[in-house]
Assembly symmetry: D2
Homo-oligomer: 348 residues x 4
């Protein structure tokens, strides 16, 4: 098979670089364009020295790329900037596959987008064809899509844990509390005081309670599963680790037992290569998925009657971003879904 | 004022050593006995080299101490071993003040103790006089006590956040979910695989869900405040930091608003030197209390109607253990409550 | 004693904030002015939330301070900006005491300053009266000084280890190799990519080899001790910890033994409150001094004949900066040298 | 090609588990036996839960393995225990390939072994055929070998940096100072107080100065390169990171320049897949090799005349252990040397 020619928009950020890390060793991919407008002209290893052993194209401005020569594009740009660029890319090459790792095409509702992101959608004509790229839930649509809006890291962790339960009406979707914990890479490579080593290290701080934009995606998709509008509690905390995300979801049971929940999840993911349900008594932990595309989900009984706790964990840059994007790309190109993604967690 | 003569039982553990750290600079205390049966004969700086600048008594077996010459004893022994030793100490010197940092005298109910700790209480005759040492809640009784059972680190954080709310009937005590996060010192200095640097670092893992013994203390004291038996959800997670504890408590409101909760907490702690309620919009974080005896408590609105989130944080070895014990000792000796405890958090 | 009125220039940086942390609990100090030009108008706890319990003056621009009402000023400004400001402060109040924690008055030679710092000295008329503030070496001059140039963190660690040996001619000053390791706070609070948690965490990188400006101070002071110009190897590395500095100095012996070196250091620091020499066989470690004003120094034999290894460690923000400045202030005001500085290391 | 059947002795330690991590995804390997005598009977994912997605053989006692059915064995046992077991394995199956990751066959001299390891060699009859498994230096011999003694992590980093320079007589081998820094996995998975998170985190401590056993290997191999017995200074420090090793070697030049050193190294490694020499001005850092089999080496001028600094870094569990063992296995089976080893560093 000839290798697919891949471009990466926003290669100087962490999601872009993790796409490079994985695609550089993907047997069916060839990285042929890397963009980073503020670093244009530099080599990738000037920006990310751990790529010293790779022979990669130099970073260029996105306007300089000949999109007609590419088969697929990964987009790791900040939200808000992506919509117009993707519209331009698709105009230049309507047959190209787009793996958008930004938030720009995740919300189907135009008003909801405007409300959560603070500005009107800039390419809403494309939103209709965008498929929400949570592979396990939308595999068929992704396979046929041109534009895939890969979910946020938190939504991936939460939705894989809760959607099957909401669909099966095992839980009360009006009483979902999600206590979420993220490593610092979740905040990106931009320079912020609170992500300095000396500030984030050896400490824990909550942030964006009640206002984190990933709430919107979570509510959209649980709403789809439940067949009704949903409001969830989503409370994120910053944890002193680089990678990893852990969601502790507190749910009210509709007559079901914790074992019923586990059974439902096991059924849903029985044939999934990356979504794993732990055995009764085994607790997921971020260490088990660091650097990998795997998700671990567990169910624990609550001492409060008629309640359960659902635990889920993933690597925010892999299954939570670049890895899932590649998983989707594999589907879109008819490749085995696991190609290039079977790295085991780097532990310790 | 002559200095009070202080002994520390279990000086080779972390709560013992933090008591030494603080008492060595306390203007009214003189450390005159240190016990550690497995390290008897060693100097303290062999066991904790950061005490190299102090002139401390050598570690001895607890049986070798002449308790009649001491004014107070801090006990940092593991639970289960403490009851008989404290009984022996009090027999040798009935006038001595006991600051127990273990779990041995925290539960007032004999059956509850047996159920959570797996063995019968070995000095239940003393339980009746033991005062639960949460200073802000039991100040008067502590002042008059001989035996103070200092609370666990998690209970201190949770109870300071929730007891005033339960007392004022602002929250529904049958629907309390406590997502708790602790630094690794919470597990003590014993050798365990999961607290090795290479295992706990750069990762997050839940533990003891539904079975953590601190649940019992939390339920006992919220029960007292509410006037009825209570079962809470208490879900602890291990965080890659040495010190610090953060509790995110999800509560259902009895018609109150989040602002009402904050106002109630502000009223409760208006004159407290160590318990601080953050202003609306300011979130507590462990960095603000590391190494100090302060507690920070905050209230945030929930997007789910009729719910709120109460955040609380402290240093598990200080306000969560040795610091609160010293705060209690100050009361018991008629000293200003803040003596020796006003260190500001070590940040960064 | 009435409290001395203290101002802090550059209170929004880490050395400034550590000065606040310590001075706020200093029995003879009252913080009456805090400057931070880019944060003017804010409260200190907006900039450093761990000061929530303190009642501090609001941050102002340095030009707004009435210097005639202050007894002493600590300066935590970046190098290069300090000279003119200090000149202005001294003009406004010639009797004020200046504790400069920047690099602006450390080098006695005008050309050397220009060479290492890339611009001409802007207040060289003051350099003559500036005393190099390494307390243990210049105590008498500091006591009498108006302007004290507190040394850099690395020079403090290195010079306390090597100056007594150079003075006593026990080592060959032409063959000194200093492998230095620093925590990330050494790089300050400014936003830099390499000090982000995700970049500096879980990794080690050398930096500024052969070009670190602290080399100049080290060479100046070892030169004074040896009575001749000296060039040293100084190779710093960034370590994933917030505080702490460790210097491993490889020295050639002039006929002396490692035990002779230790004896010389013990003699030099026999009466020093903060400089401690470890016993034979005990190795210094940063954990022993974290958050404290203590320095630990050790000597180890080398397997290579006629060589030894001298180890030294301190907290870069305390004995390496704000703590030593306060130690000097105590001398300048005739206070006991240890006042407000006896905190023991925060371990763990 | 049929897959080679692989056994791993000591699969419950970190070098064993990293061998599993890599071999499980190696296209020509099949793990068919895992031993761990203290954990016999458990599944591998009970011991290392990050292997939850693999279908691995259950852990057994080494005595239970049928060695005749295996093609190769990796040995991750502690030193001292390995010699007799390997002798037994080879007796059972003389055609098997042994990749020993322990220290038991690294020293060619029987007396040197006894001196450094404190007991007599227990299978010295095999030492003669053991090849020192530093791939880049002994490739031909390894290809033909049956028993390969893979080097320690520190020796790999140091020898790749210095052997070409010693061979070319560019440096004075009597004046080599190696300041070495290691992550905590270097100490293994055994329970030790100094490798607890709360002890090793946020701190730096030197250890085993003058007595670290890796000195012996370093001296043996630099001696071979130089053609004379050599004594080096080797000073290790424990760094708060899980993986990664960094060696800063201070060398005296025999008339050469730092550029000559870099040129010699570039020549030596021009065709090497895993050993990379950085360009002038680029400094190696552990982040660039974390989780990978790559080594980065750099040369920097020293401000002291006639001296240079050679920097080298690798992942102690990969190129420093399991990765290099697999690299050797590839050679021994006639596979492309890089098979299964091209993972890029996990950064951030």
């Amino acid at each position: 098979m000839t290798k697919k020619k891949i471009g990466i928009l926003g290669a100087s950020g962490y999601t872009g670089s993790d796409a490079v890390r994985l695609l550089a060793r993907h047997p069916n991919a060839e990285i042929t364009a890397l963009t980073a407008n503020t670093h244009a002209g530099k080599t990738m290893s000037e920006v990310f020295p751990h790529f010293f052993m790779l022979d990669l194209p130099r970073l260029v401005e996105w306007e300089k790329v000949d999109w007609t020569r590419l088969d697929a594009v990964f987009c790791g740009l900040p939200h808000g900037t992506t919509q117009e660029i993707i519209a331009a890319v698709l105009k230049a090459n309507p047959g190209i596959k787009i793996l958008d790792m930004s938030a720009d095409f995740r919300l189907r509702d135009e008003d909801s987008y405007a409300q959560w992101y603070g500005h009107e959608h800039r390419a809403f004509e494309l939103q209709g064809e965008a498929v929400y790229g949570l592979t396990e839930l939308y595999r068929e649509k992704i396979t046929a899509a041109r534009l895939v809006a890969c979910p946020g890291c938190y939504p991936t962790a939460v939705l894989l844990a809760l959607v099957p339960l909401a669909k099966a009406k095992l839980i009360d979707v009006d009483d979902i509390i999600i206590d979420a914990k993220s490593g610092v890479t979740g905040a990106g490579r931009g320079l912020k005081q609170n992500t300095l080593f000396s500030e984030a290290g050896e400490g824990l701080s909550p942030y964006s309670i009640g206002s984190h934009r990933h709430s919107a995606e979570i509510e959209q998709e649980i709403g789809v599963a439940a067949g009704s509008a949903v409001t969830v509690n989503f409370t994120p905390h910053l944890i002193p680790m680089a990678r990893g995300e852990f969601c502790t979801s507190y749910v009210k049971l509709n007559g079901a037992t914790p074992d019923d929940l586990r059974a439902e999840l096991e059924k849903a993911y029985a044939n999934e290569p990356f979504a794993h349900v732990t055995k009764k008594g085994v607790l997921p932990q971020t260490q088990n998925v660091r650097g990998s595309n795997y998700v671990q989900i567990g169910v624990v009984a609550d001492r409060i009657k008629n309640r359960a706790i659902v635990l889920s964990t993933l690597d925010n840059l892999v299954k939570g971003s670049a890895g899932q994007a590649i998983q989707n790309m594999n589907l879109m190109f008819g490749l085995p879904e696991t190609t290039g993604l079977e790295q085991i967690a780097l532990f310790p």
